[in-house]
Amino acid sequence: MSAIIQHLANALSVGSLYALMAIGYTMVYGVLRLINFAHGEIFMMAMYIVFFGLTMFLMPWYVSFIVAILLTAALGVAAERLAYRPLRDAPRISILISAIAVSYFLQNLATVLFGGRPLTFPQVPLFTSMIDVGGARISRLLILTPAVTAILLIALQYLLKRTKTGMAMRAVARDYDAARLMGVDLNRTIAMTFFIGSSLAGVGAIMWGMKYPQIIPTVGAMPGVKCFIAAVLGGIGSVAGAVVGGLALGIAEVLIVAAAPALAGYRDAFAFVLLIIVLLVKPTGLLGEKTTEKV
């Protein structure tokens, strides 16, 4: 029984982390029709920022978290401004290549600045101490991660449905010119999309670091690919789809390994298998629209 609770809590928290990061892919895809390959590296940078905030600048944890989230958001906005905006009217392939370049640039920048040796993400006892749930001893993090994710999702939903900024994002995702005719500022709205997507990746990175504490310059690569897959699974362009895809992927991964520990070594391959199956059965993803092309 306690093992089951343990696995379920773990599955839900891994799924939540994937969901948070998948939203960044899907939102950027929505407004730019771009797979932002640098999203995983933005996530990686957030982990380093927290590390240095806590160990070098000796900030209280909440200050370092806020600084990391804001800097990560700024980094996403800067990537858009410098590497994507100048290519907005260029052929799709150019901006895609630019995204790959940003990804490698950030990985190498991290290697130069922080070195290639693994660092250990500092533990914050408030989050990582153990508690009793139904007889199972689990880390507080396993409860906090889904809770924080749920709060952020509600806030995001409110933003998208109830605020002018959110409406502008949805309009831009659908039709640039029609949005401009309403007075929407394309550049501002796209920058805002990067800000939100990157800050969610920042939150995800903090919780990821407390769960999987090793930091290296390529730490964002595998979560990046998996969350991209999660976004495609759910139907890229759809925020609800990213959440469903992220949760489904995380839960499937953890529970399959729990049920068949012999498969643990193949854990990272599940995402790809799941992707192939879903794309064969429903090419637009679980909640995808029929066409994702811009008119």
């Binding site: 502008a168 949805r170 659908r174 401009r180 309403m182």
Partner: protein, 253 residues
């Protein structure tokens, strides 16, 4: 309100779409710009709206040259377009589409008032406020596109082929709305291939042919002009002459 376009030239990658167009829209009028498919009508409206950058010319609105301003600055000044093909946001509700029309406005009470005005203008929309715009009929989408533009509180409302692809009865409704909106004090620049209907509502009309204005005059005068009748109204002077070389527009009545 006065819009004056002087010698406007626009090209798409070297291909000239407008070759020096001049036209004037004065306060309170309905002005129409007619022409066959590909004449450059939409290009003219897109240039006025700030969606594309002209090569040269002037677009003077109330004494200010607005050429080169960002699209949102032009909307802010009260020059608003309902684009060709309606372009409503299909996955937003009717109400959201109308509200995004008021994107730049902060006067809550005024927005509410205009929402009621649009609902009164288009009772069909008021029955469908929570419906997704993508599920509306073509005519309803056109009404929504006009209603959305009205929510921006335009002084000059520009409409690009609002009758395109609609059933004759719906076209009649749309033209009745154009008259009504104009009577309520909004100046209108109307683009149409439906020359007959648009010249009937218009105070003044311009005829655009491959990027140049070839004819202008009062709506009535243009309606009676033989070359217009032949080219745009599908009436031929002589059965033996060549068929009209322009696409013949649909006759609404």
């Amino acid at each position: 309100m006065r819009l004056e376009i002087q010698d406007l030239r626009v090209s798409y990658g070297g291909i000239r779409a407008l070759k020096g167009v001049s036209l004037t829209v004065s306060e309170g009028s309905v002005v129409t710009l007619i022409g066959a498919n590909g004449a450059g009508k939409s290009t003219a409206l897109r240039a006025i709206s700030g969606l594309l950058k002209p090569d040269s010319g002037r677009i003077v609105y109330n004494g200010e040259d607005i050429l080169g301003l960002a699209a949102k600055e032009i909307v802010r000044r009260g020059v608003v377009m309902a684009p060709e093909g309606r372009r409503v946001f299909p996955d937003m509700t009717v109400r959201e589409n109308l509200l995004i029309g008021a994107y730049l406005r902060n006067d809550k009470a005024g927005v509410e008032k205009d929402l009621r005005y649009v609902m009164e203008l288009f009772p069909r929309l008021s029955e469908r406020t929570w419906q997704m715009a993508g599920t509306l009929s073509g005519g309803e989408q056109q009404m929504l596109a006009v209603g959305r533009a009205l929510m921006a509180k335009p002084k000059l409302l520009m409409m690009d082929e609002p009758s395109l692809g609609l059933a004759p009865l719906v076209v009649k409704d749309i033209f009745a709305i154009i008259r009504r909106v104009n009577q309520d004090g909004i100046t209108i620049l109307l683009i149409e291939q439906n020359a007959n209907a648009s010249l009937r509502v218009a105070d003044y009309g311009y005829v655009l042919e491959t990027g140049s204005i070839v004819l202008e005059g009062n709506g009535r005068a243009l309606l009676e002009n033989p070359s217009i009748q032949e080219a745009y109204l599908g009436r031929r002077r002589n059965r033996k002459t060549e068929p009209a070389k322009y696409e013949v527009s649909m006759n609404s009545d």
